[in-house]
Every structure is written in structure tokens, then in C-alpha cells.
């Protein structure tokens, strides 16, 4: 079953829409859902044109497609456990919060808090991600616990903060403080990063670009050749300021032989 939601032209386009009800499981029983526009509860059909193609017997066969200007639609896929959500354009904040299964594919850019505290499943973002991509929320000490987040573009600051499990792959560069307070899992950054992995306790972070303002609390333990990537990495352990046992790998300036 495919559910296509296309945004209607709206008189107040800057009002945020809180749409935690947009998850595949909910569409199994129909499209009679509500979302909040600002502080008003609205029927989904007031804000979106809804097209349903085919039927499904189980939520994992449901595919939700969002079209139009979705850059202010927040919390899409919150607590999603199965099925697929495809977003053609940009998506607002908190996409894939606490997600525990299924797939979210974003064609454009994602705003802040993409996949925060997610447990399982996967998110692919073809554009850039905002700040706090795959992180924990304010005060939460265990961020993303499992699953996979892949961003083809760049990510903002505090990418994979409090990462506890799962895999985060940023093909572009990260902003400031990527992988701070990491406790597990794997963070891979294809481009550059600034001040990565502060207070890291466990887990692995690989950076294939340049690290700006490397923190002094990491101890270099050697170099390692990564055959998959055909590159030699300098291996650091840390953050020693907080009993850290994490591994930070930064691509070596010396070309691999």
C-alpha cells in the first residue's frame, strides 16, 4: 500500500506542523489522523492531499510518501517501528525520533535532530542534515542506541552526540563537536570535522578528511591500514580526560603504500 501525502497550499506557511502521527502503522486503519498546526489540532486532510494506492495487510507493507513543502513538518516517523517513509523534498526537525524499525528516505535536506535516540531501522538522507543528527535529546545520556543513519551531504554541529550503538555514516563534513560523549557504536565521517569526540568513552569514530582543532586529550597508539578504503589511519584512544576507551581514527597525511 502506498499513501501519498502532498502538502496543500497554506495561508500561514511558517507555522510548524507536529506530525508524529505520520508513521506507516497508523495508515493501516485509514487516513483519519490528526496533526497539530501551531497549537491547533487539525485533520490530516486539512493540510495534505491524501492519495492511497492499493491495500496492505501488515504495516511493513505500507509506504508513506511525503511531497511538496515539508520542510516545516516535524516529528515525522516518531516511534515508527516498521514500513517505509519516503520524503521527496526537505523534512523538518525530529524526523525519526525513537524509531525502532523500518526505513526513512529523505530526498532533500533534513533539519535538526534527525533520528535522535533511534533504536533500530535505517534513515538515508540524500541532502544535508542539521544539527544534532543521530544524537540524544537534552539531558539524555544515551543517544542513538542502534540502527543506521546515512547522510550523503554534510551534517551540522553535535552530530552523533551520546552515540551508544548503531552506525552513523556522514559522507560529507560535520560541524563542531561530532561524536562528543560517544559511548559505543560507529561514527564515520567522509569529510572534515572540528573538535571531534570530546569526552568519548567507547565506540569508534573514523574521519577521512581533516580534523580541525583536534583535542589534546587523545593518545596516539599507532597507525592502521584500512584495506576497504585504501587509506592509512592514525589511531588515537581517548578521551583520557574521562577514563575514555574510545577509538578515534583520522586519515593519515602520509599516503598509504
Amino acid at each position: 500500500m502506498r499513501v501519498i501525502l502532498e502538502t496543500k497550499k497554506c495561508s500561514k506557511p511558517f507555522l510548524p506542523i507536529e506530525a508524529e502521527s505520520i508513521i506507516p502503522r497508523n495508515f493501516l486503519k485509514g487516513t483519519d489522523l490528526t496533526v497539530y498546526e501551531g497549537n491547533k489540532e487539525r485533520a490530516l486532510s486539512e493540510l495534505f492531499w491524501i492519495f492511497v494506492e492499493g491495500t496492505a495487510v501488515s504495516p511493513d507493507k505500507v509506504e508513506v510518501v511525503l511531497k511538496g513543502d515539508t520542510s516545516r513538518v516535524k516529528r515525522v516517523g516518531e516511534y515508527m517501528d516498521t514500513g517505509t517513509i519516503r520524503i521527496v523534498g526537505d523534512i523538518g526537525m525530529h524526523c525519526g525520533n525513537f524509531m525502532s524499525g523500518g526505513l526513512i528516505e529523505i530526498g532533500g535536506n533534513a533539519d535538526a535532530w534527525l533520528g535522535r535516540e533511534m533504536l533500530d531501522g535505517s534513515i538515508i538522507c540524500r541532502g544535508n542534515a542539521g544539527h544534532y543528527c543521530a544524537s540524544g535529546y537534552r539531558g539524555e545520556k544515551h543517544g542513538m542506541k542502534g540502527g543506521r543513519v546515512e547522510v550523503m551531504g554534510n551534517a551540522g554541529d553535535f552530530c552523533a552526540e551520546y552515540l551508544t550503538g548503531g552506525e552513523v555514516y556522514i559522507h560529507g563534513s560535520c560541524g563542531d563537536m561530532a561524536g562528543v560523549e560517544m559511548k559505543g557504536g560507529q561514527l564515520v565521517i567522509g569529510g572534515d570535522a572540528t573538535r571531534p569526540c570530546g569526552n568519548m568513552k567507547d565506540g569508534t569514530c573514523m574521519i577521512f578528511g581533516t580534523v580541525h582543532r583536534m583535542l589534546p586529550t587523545f593518545t596516539k597508539t599507532g597507525t592502521q591500514l584500512l584495506p576497504d578504503h585504501k587509506v592509512a589511519m592514525e589511531v588515537y584512544t581517548g578521551d583520557v580526560a574521562n577514563r575514555g576507551k574510545g577509538t578515534l581514527m583520522v586519515s593519515s597525511r602520509v599516503p598509504a603504500r
Binding site: 535529546y137 537534552r138 539531558g139 539524555e140 545520556k141 574521562n242 577514563r243
Partner: protein, 566 residues
Amino acid sequence: MTELMVKNACVIDPLNRINTEMMDIAIRDGRIVESVSGNADVIDAKGCLTLPGGIDSHTHVCGTKVNFGRYMSPEDMRAGRTARSGKMHVTSGYYVPTTYGNSYRYSRMGYTTLLEGAMAPLEARHTHEEFTATPHQDMLANTLFDGNWSVMEAVQKGDVRRVAAIVAWTLTAVKGYSIKLTNPGGTEAWGWGEDVTSIHEQVPNFNVTPAEIITAMIAANEMLRLPHSVHLHCNNLGKPGNYRTTLETFDLVPDRNKERQSLYATHVQFHAYGGTTWRNINSKAEEIARSVNAKPQIVMDMGQIMFGRTMTMTADGPMEFKLYCLHHNKWSNHDVELETGSGIIPVLYSKKSLVNCVMWAIGLELALLTKNPYQCLLATDNPNGAPFVKYPEIIGLLMSKRYRDEEFATLHDGTGQRTAISSIDREMDWNEIAIMTRAGQAKALGITTQGKGHLGVGAEADVAIYPIRCRDVDPSTEYRKVVEGFQKTMYTIKRGRVIAREGEIIVEGANSTFWVNPSVPEEISVASDPEFVKKFEEYYTVRMSNYPVQDVYLPRGKCIRTEAVL
């Protein structure tokens, strides 16, 4: 004149020796009376369990420390969210909820009076403001004196009359209710980066020992004839082997008052550990209970822990720092100038942790091994051991051996070797639970004369009606019904007004704050003592004239005057 009649109530009122009797309760203008006119509103209790309003004799719900816990845990504010509806404000939070959240949840469980466990005198204004925002419960504030410089100087000179005078002035100034000692001496030592490890160790720079502070404070408390006794959080909280310190402390306590205990030892579970390290920690609840059974002058509360996430907050600064070293999580320590300190860190009590399982068992053992329920009250030191919403589960555990066994089976394998919980068969009855949750607490706090904790004629009309038919329910097997019943009252009546019905709050509250004003003879009063005034102006960052809490902070303050006998 407002009148209310509660019909067909199955009343348990331990202070008036009423045990599951079917009776009617007549209420006029917030007080219980003999009878009311025919025009009175009638509530049909349908034969359900009716108790005096619940009293929590040690909880942390208001004050700077609790608020700092809220700052520290934005993630907790995602839980327990309820929208504004009717008379109810918005609430959020689970282990450090908003003040309204605390108030509504206590009301729902039938609690009508709370004692805030620790109020730093310097920060009293904020505590009183939060009391006002906890509208459904009458509030009392324990006032911290554990590291008070003037008190320690007077103790060092052996001048108990002066200790009493300082306590009297401070309690009146900050509108406090009773004396709280938290790790006496140790919190002050923490200001210098140290701690005291026994009650006979000297506090750095003051040449006094915790034992001297405790003894002098008990003497001063009785001189001032305060309604409550000294409220003590013993030294060495949470250290393996600390039961010796606790027993030594109990041995210091003389029997000075016929009406009530001379020492209230709080959250004793945290003070009943044997062993030498976390690896060989074991329960010494039996020793503690034996000591308490032999000493009617001591009342304690359980300090039960329940599994799950919560926040520890106490004036015991050094202990919180040690916990931080263990967890390396969020942490805050604070020093209150010349008075006390505090510390706050979040914790997770887990069934996988042997230490946590032993702690869980010790709390229950203390309650079950103490013969007189008036001497061991039900509390979790909310939120340190568990949020107070877990009280019904604790009641279930105390009333049912089978429930305890079922829980015990899910714990860490080593628990059985280190505790005796599985060999205790005692199952508490309804009357004992009523004592541990209201009558005993009212007696210990000395508020029975204010009409709290009982349903006799003249008492404040604080009544909780639970949806439990106690003659039909067998708590030892149907403990689920007990737990559910205590979670939500049918009616909670506060001063003659129904405030909660089936869990829904239906009125804006109007609580009172009780405070004491002990009058001491002019010649020993410290307010006019040049030495005290000089030191105050020299050391405090506030002026002495700005220090007392103005009446405006207590819109419904109730002053209890006492006449000191010096």
C-alpha cells in the same frame, strides 16, 4: 458553613483505636464533628477503606535542590506530561515533576500533608514559594542545622542554651518546622573538601564531633519543646559497614519526651549496610531493627528503594560527590554559606546490580523486623529511593509475602546470601499500613494536636477513601488489588473539601504551611546579642535584617508557638 457527610465508610483510625469499623464521618467547616444537619452534601463511600489523609514525613518536593534536579534533567520532563484541563495546571516529569505534578499525584494517592526533608535556611524563600505552588498539601519544612557555624561554636563551648537560642531565632526567621541534621559536621567538612567518617571524628576547624552536635541538638530541641524531634540523616550514608555508625548514633539518644520520640532517623535503609566494600556489602537490618525495638525514643523511616530511574538529592555533599565518582554522570554540588551544602545526581536502580538488590531488601527488612509500626514509617526519601508514586507497591510488598517472593525471584542471584528478606514471613495488616502511612507519621511529627493523622472529633477533615473493600480483599494473595487501590483514591478530602475524585483534581488548592515560633527569654535571645549580630554581618552575604522570610511568602502560614523551658 459548609457541611459534608461521608456515609458507609470502613474506617481505620489507629490513633483513636478504630479498626475497620463501618461508620459515618461528619464534617463541618473543615473539621470533623459529631453530626451535621440534613442539608449536608453526602458522599457514599460504599464500604470502602477510609483513612485519615496520608502524611509523608520525609520527602523532597520543594526547594532549590529539587529545582536544580529539574534543571539537570530535561529528559525527565518528557515523562508524565498532562495538558491543562479544568482546575489542573500543566504537569510534567516523573522523578522530579513540577510542583503541581507532585501535588496532584500525592492527592491522587490520598496524601494531604508533606514534610519537606531539607530546607537550607538561606534559601528558605524559594522553598516557601514552591510550597505555595504545591497547593493541595499542608507543608512543613525541616530546617538544616548540620553545618551551622554559630551552632557548632556554641556546641564547642558546651552552651546548649545558646544552641537553643540560635535554633529558635533561625526557625522563626525562616519559618521552618523542625531541626534537620544531614551528615552533621560532614557537610561542613565537605566545604573544606573533606568528610567525617565516624561520629567521634572532629569536624575540621571547629573542634566538635558529630556526636556532640547530635546530643546538643536533641537537648536544645527538648528545651524549646518543639513539636517534632531532631530529624537526623546519620553520618556515613551509603557506605558499606556504616551500620556501626548508625548503631552508635542510636546509642547516644536519651528518652527525653513522653509524647513522641527523641530522634527521628530518616532513610535508615541507606544506613544499614554491613561489609567493607561494595563487593561484600550485606544487610544489617536485623541489628538496626533490634536496636530500634529496644529504644522507644527512636523512630525511623524506611528509605525504601524501588527499581528504576530516579534522582538523588541531599544536603549530604560529600556523599553525592562519592556517588559522582562512581557513576561519572551529571552532577551538581553546592555549598550554602555558613550553613550546609547539597548534592544532586541521577541514578538508576537496577535488578542486575547486586548492591541495588541488597538495598531493596534492607528497606523491607527494616519495616518487617521493627515490631512497633509506629517506629518504622513508610517513605522512600522521595525521590532518592524512588519517586513517591511507588508507595502503593511498597504497601503491597509489606502486606504480601507472595509478592515479595515473586519480586525476589527476579533479583540478582546473590541477594539471598546477603539478606534475610526471603525468610521473613510477616505480612502487615491494614491497621499497620495505616500507622506507617499516616498515624505514625502524624505522631512522629507532633501534628496530632493540629488535628492531623486521625479522624476523631475536632480533627482536620483530611480523609482519603480508597476503592478497596478491606473485608473482601485478602492482601497476601490479591496484592495487585491493594497496589491498584492505593494508587488512586475514590475521594481525597482536604479540610472538608473534595480535592480529588477518581484521580481527577477538581479544585484549586489552598494549603497551609506550618511553622514554629519558639519563644525564648529576652536575656538569651540571639537577635539582640551583639556578638551574634556582629558575626552575622561579618560573614553572611546578606544582612541580618534581610534574612528573615517575610509573611508574604506564606499566604496561609500557620504558626505554632512554643514556650521554651531553659
